[in-house]
């Protein structure tokens, strides 16, 4: 049968599925990224779509095996992430196969509890309620709230609201970066968030912008940051970070400047002042900083004058530099001023147009201003809203400060419709739940920035009885308006049709190509802007609460964003890189305070603000600003995780519970740094599950570094190779290839993406808090954080540690049954069937990367559907460890054989390497002198961990390059 006919039929059946509600095999919808006439069992088909775990909108390739998605990978053609994914993207599958996923439509009964309903009944009820309001001429009493949807769905939702005369749709994103928009309005007269070209910068000066964690587009910026920063043929950029707390981003800085919270703008201006005074920049900028007294600035910010001058010098001499601002400390009442100051820095240094590019503007520019959100909240509170429609990913009751009283406001709304497909704090308040399809099951499109139009397509059949929000709203809309398909303001039968109709003019019949590529990507020329130079009067950030208290830094979490990813057990168990804590939330308190109050790690503290109190275990930080305490946002547990993985349910883990309703004076943006809190010991303990015993290497040189100067020297002149280790035994011969890996410690930013990718690829089970705390976690790949230097200003090295596949492996000879043995391709094999579980190998491995199945770990349904069919699920009592993705090695070798050639670089890409945003990991054949890994193995920066033990690892590490002044 012809592809085209097949396509027609399947599309039709897809439509039938949408209308009839029966679950057709929509996963066979063509076209595929790798086109094939039909789905071949055992052969994966790849579907290109767009990750919707956060507004960054990375391109994703979904690996479909026998109709089920088993793995997500970044789309290499996508301009945003170029093949990489962050840990949240990797873990999206846990949302797709979430055990708590809503099984079908739910309606609130008289008793107040939810009961399963039919789609027809649910739609009818909603249509009736909306129809009634419309007849009563109270269309304004209908409110529609969605996450950032700037594509077809957004347009459709707006049309829907318009057609029903509802209030204008509210796009709700807790992190909206409005201050940046406001600042750009005032400085550049442009209401947009530009594209920051880290890759072209020589010096990056960040004022709290945590671009490696969540800021704007973390994969994009981590990737381009690595391009700029990591050591390549003698050159390496410089990164200076200003933040009161040493975040993951800060710990990647060559120089971390700890300032008093809220003084970022002041510092920026002080730096500008120095640049002006020293005549490094155009005198005209003096006007802007006339009012700045350097000494006072130094005192207020707690940053030494020398540092300010030094930073100014470094930044001014950069060709070009880049100054960015963000993070929690720059969301205070003075956020806009701070961003304006940063704009002026960029303008003065001549970065605008070079590294600050307007034109390819970020989608964040489309988020509804917070003032309107607040207005809606007031309206709901005032009873003006009678029907509230909440799109998926919208959870204001959890992700917004409790000071806004949104939960109460929503309770005041008589009829709430939620499209969330996983129960959350807001859908609990709904009367009707109409589960939307997961984004991996949906049609759609999303433009993370101008010129990048990402296309979403269903990659598999919905795993639960859920339907696209678009379809349902269209049907409800028509029911209310009394029109039928093809007529009226909402003629499209399904949202799929709508998307295709919307794309037709753009792709002109070539939709398949766009779907295969994952969208339509064009370069947008930078728009020239001129900076308006006006005096900036830096005001201190206004903080509520006890003036004597600590400034509360509630920061977005690398793992959970605003909390929408927290339902994933993989993410819960992937340690937060800085604290290495899993599963629980914590309050980070300065070591000085801990000493004074006699607080030990794990002691429960009550954190009190005018809004209320929050109880969290303490994490003692030697780096945090003494005037502040920090709590990660977004921690919560899904119902199925209790008591399976964590004990009793803590009342709340989320700092939003104690944040007041504060906003930035100028832009009206939501202010996250808005309150001072007091802490009190509760006398109880809740020890954290911290995976890393110590951050001190104890002189063992596991993670090594070299000075930039020395590195340059070696890169130019080369380094005398040290002799191979001697042995009584003849060297092992490798008839075929010898697989090896090189890991660049200098490039690794510690984002944990590889850890989750490995877990997804290799069916690594989740063990839960207690087991993880007791050294029983099963990660094959772990990301270690090693600190050097003064405890209050440490230099950090991030070391991805996995099986080293030693040539002289200590684990092998001790195994009584040859379960651990050496393959003739240089891998350290582990035969699960043979393993008796003596655990001798685990003791004898100097790296302790071998993992043991202490129990029979289960994959709660339907998570077992995600298991990689190419990887064994291990039984209780056996040892396991990194296999260097042997299943991918075999596949790569087969492909090469089919093409009648040897294996080349790129044929085999391990899961960790594939997802790494900074390309720190390289895999390949060590016997092929042309391969990248061989070249890296001979780099002057190359070393082996615990080389003196003589295990001859197949994994080579490249030393981190530290700047002399750091």
């Amino acid at each position: 049968m012809k592809r085209r006919d097949f396509f027609k039929i399947v599309t039709a059946s897809g439509a039938a599925a949408a209308t009839g509600g029966c679950q057709q095999a929509t996963e066979s919808i063509l076209p595929l990224v790798v086109p094939n006439e039909q789905i071949v069992p055992g052969v994966a088909s790849w579907f290109a779509t767009v990750c919707r775990e956060c507004p960054a909108g990375c391109g994703v390739l979904a690996k479909n095996r026998e109709g089920r998605i088993v793995k997500l990978e970044g789309n290499p053609d996508h301009p945003v992430n170029a093949g990489a994914l962050c840990l949240r993207g990797q873990a999206a599958l846990q949302g797709l196969y979430h055990p708590d996923r809503v099984a079908g439509p739910l309606m609130r009964e008289g008793s107040g509890s939810f009961a399963a309903a039919t789609w027809e009944a649910a739609e009818k009820l909603v249509a009736e309620r909306i129809g009634a309001l419309r007849i009563a001429g109270k269309g304004r009493a209908i409110a529609l709230v969605s996450q950032l949807e700037n594509g077809s769905l957004g347009v459709l939702l707006d049309r829907w609201s318009a057609a029903l005369g509802a209030r204008p749709r509210v796009t709700l994103e807790p992190f909206a970066y409005e201050a940046i928009r406001a600042a750009n309005r005032s400085t550049f007269n442009r209401d947009a968030i530009p594209y920051y070209a880290f890759e072209d910068a020589e010096v990056v000066l960040s004022f709290g912008a945590d671009f490696i964690e969540t800021w704007l587009s973390n994969v994009n910026y981590a990737r381009t940051f690595a391009r700029m920063h990591s050591f390549r043929d003698g050159r390496a950029g410089t990164f200076i970070h200003v933040e009161p707390r040493q975040s993951l981003t800060a710990s990647n800085a060559d120089e971390w400047v700890r300032n008093a919270p809220g003084t970022e703008g002041l510092l920026a201006l002080a730096i500008l002042r120095v640049m002006v005074d020293e005549g490094m920049v155009d005198r005209r900028y003096g006007e802007a900083v006339a009012g700045i007294d350097l000494n006072r600035a130094a005192d207020t910010s707690g940053v030494g004058l020398e540092t300010i001058k030094h930073v100014a010098k470094v930044f001014a001499h950069a060709q070009p530099g880049l100054a960015v601002g963000g993070g929690v400390a720059v969301t205070g009442s003075n956020a806009t001023e701070s961003q304006i100051a940063i704009n002026l820095l960029n303008a003065a240094a001549g970065n605008v147009g070079k590294t600050v590019r307007f034109g390819p503007d970020s989608a964040y520019g489309k988020v509804t201003p917070h003032t309107e959100v607040a207005a809606l909240a007031r309206a709901m509170g005032g009873g003006e809203v009678e029907v509230l429609v909440l799109g998926p990913g919208v959870n204001p009751a959890f992700t917004l400060p409790s000071g806004l009283k949104l939960a109460d406001a929503i309770r005041k709304v008589p009829f709430v419709v939620s499209f969330s497909n996983v129960p959350d704090q807001t859908s609990e308040l709904a009367q009707v739940v109409l589960p939307d399809t997961h984004w991996l099951e949906s049609w759609g499109d999303y433009a993370p920035r101008e010129g990048v139009l990402g296309l979403l397509q269903p990659t598999m059949a919905p795993i639960r009885d859920s339907r696209p929000m678009g379809d349902i709203l269209l049907r409800i809309g028509r029911a209310v308006l009394g029109t039928e398909a093809g007529k009226g303001p909402l003629p499209w039968p399904t949202f799929e049709r709508y998307v295709k109709a919307a794309w037709e003019p753009v792709v002109k019949g070539a939709l398949e190509g766009a779907l295969r590529r994952g969208g339509l990507f064009t370069d947008v020329a930078p728009v020239a802007v001129t900076a308006k130079i006006a005096p900036v009067e830096p005001s201190p950030a206004k903080l509520e609460g006890d003036a004597g208290g600590f400034t509360l830094l509630a920061y977005p979490s690398l793992r959970f964003y605003d909390g929408r990813s927290a339902v994933s057990s993989w993410l819960q168990e992937a340690p937060d890189t800085m604290t290495q804590a899993v599963w629980d939330a914590w309050v980070e308190i300065p070591a000085e305070t801990a000493g004074k109050l006699g607080i030990a790690q794990g002691d429960m503290l009550a954190i009190k603000s005018p809004q209320g109190s929050l109880e969290l275990p303490a994490y003692i930080s030697s780096t945090l600003h003494p005037g502040a305490i920090a709590i990660p946002m977004g921690h919560r547990y899904a119902p199925y995780q209790r008591p399976r993985y964590v004990g009793a349910d803590p009342r709340s883990l989320n700092p939003m519970a104690i944040l007041p309703a504060a906003s930035d004076a100028t832009s009206g943006a939501l202010a996250f740094m808005s309150v001072k809190v007091t802490i009190a010991k509760l006398g109880t303990r809740r020890p954290l599950a911290v995976l890393q015993a110590t951050h001190d290497q104890d002189h063992r040189e596991l993670a090594q570094h070299v000075d930039l100067g020395a590195a340059r020297e070696q890169a130019l002149r080369g380094k005398p190779p040290h002799g191979a280790p001697i042995s009584m035994y003849p060297d092992t011969q490798y008839p075929g290839p010898r697989w090896g890996m090189a890991i660049d410690v200098d490039a690794c930013v510690g984002c944990q993406a590889c850890v989750v990718a490995c877990q997804a690829e290799n069916n690594v089970p989740v063990v839960g808090k207690a087991s993880a705390a007791y050294g029983r976690q099963l990660h094959w790949l772990r990301l270690e954080r090693w600190a050097e230097g003064k405890p209050e200003r440490p230099t950090h090295l991030f070391l991805p540690m996995l099986c080293q596949h030693c040539e002289v492996a200590p684990c092998e000879p001790v195994c009584p049954v040859y379960a651990a043995y050496r393959t003739d391709e240089g891998l350290n094999g582990q035969v699960y069937n043979r393993c008796v579980g003596t655990r001798y190998c685990g003791n004898n491995c100097p790296y302790h990367v071998r993992r043991f199945n202490w129990f029979q770990y289960e994959f709660p349904a339907p998570l077992e559907v995600q298991l990689n069919p190419d990887v064994t699920v291990r039984q209780l009592g056996v040892m396991e460890k990194c296999t260097m993705c042997v299943q991918r090695i075999i596949a790569g070798k087969d492909r090469a054989r089919d093409e009648k050639r040897g294996v080349r670089d790129g044929d085999i890409v391990t899961a960790c390497q594939q997802t790494c945003p900074t390309q720190a990991i390289t895999f390949g054949n060590l016997k092929d002198d042309a391969s990248a890994v061989t070249k890296l193995t001979h780099s002057p920066r190359a070393y082996h961990v615990l080389e003196e033990v003589g295990t001859r690892p197949s994994i080579t590490y490249l030393r981190k390059v530290v700047r002399e002044h750091a």
Partner: protein, 178 residues
Amino acid sequence: MATETILGVFAHVDTTVRALEELRARGYHDLTVYTPLPVHEIEEVLERDRPVSRVRLFTLIGGLTGIASAFILTIWSSLVWGQVTGGKYLQLVPGGIIGSSLPPFFIIAFELMVLFGGLATVIGLIVLGRLPRFRQSPAFDPRFTNDRFGVAIHCAPERAGAVHELLRAAGAEEITAR
């Protein structure tokens, strides 16, 4: 021709030895001595013209078998399933045998030597000692496992009288014909 068995029961070692010396002097060699424990003096008399027990031959053969089988097992199994562990191996390749990881095999060899040797010794004891024995021999008396010594002489009936005489003279506390 029918032989008669005369049993002399003794309470003391010296009397028993004396009796044995006398009997040997008179040329009675076909006799069995029952003792509750191995007595040096008695053995001296008896072992004089006997060869050393052949048990040790069993031990030697057993031990050597053990060593041989250990080396055969370890080396052969390494060759048929030549895995590399810890960079050490012993493999059969077209070119012949490569690798060098023999030392551990000596441990196995030692253990099997002891095991086989030990078991062979016991087999030797059972075979040579005519064990197990299910019918009690006519001359045996339960007291011989307690505190009495017995000397049983198998002789032609016509010489029975002389033996009687001899045993009484030696100091047997009881003499019976069985």
